[in-house]
Symmetry: C2
Subunit: 163 residues, 2 copies
């Protein structure tokens, strides 16, 4: 995109909160990763997907949030993608200051709890990983994650974390 496009006025923080209530996604993947000590990697991510015709708004949102990369999502769709603990801590703070208003707020709250657990390094213990997997399974109406389904981790006493 041209510098001229990028110099447009930044959207307000409240506008971003409303736009993300419609278009944003807070997601936590648990991926098998044999190289890691527990064999699983927690991958939290915030993203906003738009048709490439609206690429400029993704740049402007990124500039306001102060983090994220714009990458191809699929076909003619782009996404603003935020990963990494430092960046996601910024994202959590932003939406705590400028709260979502729809039922997506509940997803965000679970997401924020997982980020907080990861800041405390809980994902490095099996107990913490179980807690994170239980939390993640409550997000985005997804079914229970592969982690919870894996034979090693299904436990009779699996706790459904209170949040």
């Amino acid at each position: 995109m041209s510098d001229a496009d990028n110099q447009q006025e930044r959207p307000s923080v409240e506008w971003i909160s409303g736009f993300v209530d419609g278009e944003g996604c807070f997601h936590v993947a648990l991926n098998k990763q044999p190289n890691m000590s527990l064999g699983w990697q927690v991958l939290p991510e915030f993203r906003i997907v738009q048709h490439k015709r609206d690429e400029q708004i993704l740049h402007r949102i990124r500039d306001t949030l102060g983090c994220g990369r714009i990458v191809i999502n699929h076909g003619d769709r782009l996404e603003l993608r935020v990963r990494g603990m430092e960046n996601l801590t910024k994202i959590v703070k932003f939406f705590q200051q400028h709260p979502l208003q729809t039922s997506k707020k509940r997803n965000f709250e679970i997401f924020a709890k997982i980020i907080s657990l990861m800041q405390e390094k809980k994902h490095l213990s099996e107990e913490g990983m179980q807690l994170i997997a239980n939390l993640a399974s409550q997000m985005n109406r997804q079914t229970i994650s592969a982690y919870l389904e894996s034979s090693e981790t299904i436990r009779q006493n699996a706790l459904c974390a209170k949040i």
Copy 2:
């Protein structure tokens, strides 16, 4: 919904602008209506569709906008629907004061132009109706409307209105 739900804090105007950039729709239908003098009715409409789990936000947006009805859209989806010139004039004013930021802004501008033409009663003349049909055909990536396709109205010199 309960009174308690409805008494939640109203979303800010900027939040609504962002949410509508994601979820709102400005639409102008041209419907065959033999009872009307030109045989066609212009039906402009603003709507926001949400799953019924987010019914409360539709009520809160309606309360802030000061117009609209919440009706069933399809299955478990509800919509906040605004029709009628007085209400739509309010909607146009709202989004002129709190501008959209994505490419949806162009749809809104065409919509606002059509509302303005209707305020001037242009839709009651064949020439005005042609202009409105040309404008409406540029919205929402829709194909040319039935009005423009009808044999009586296709003209060699049909103008693509500048907006």
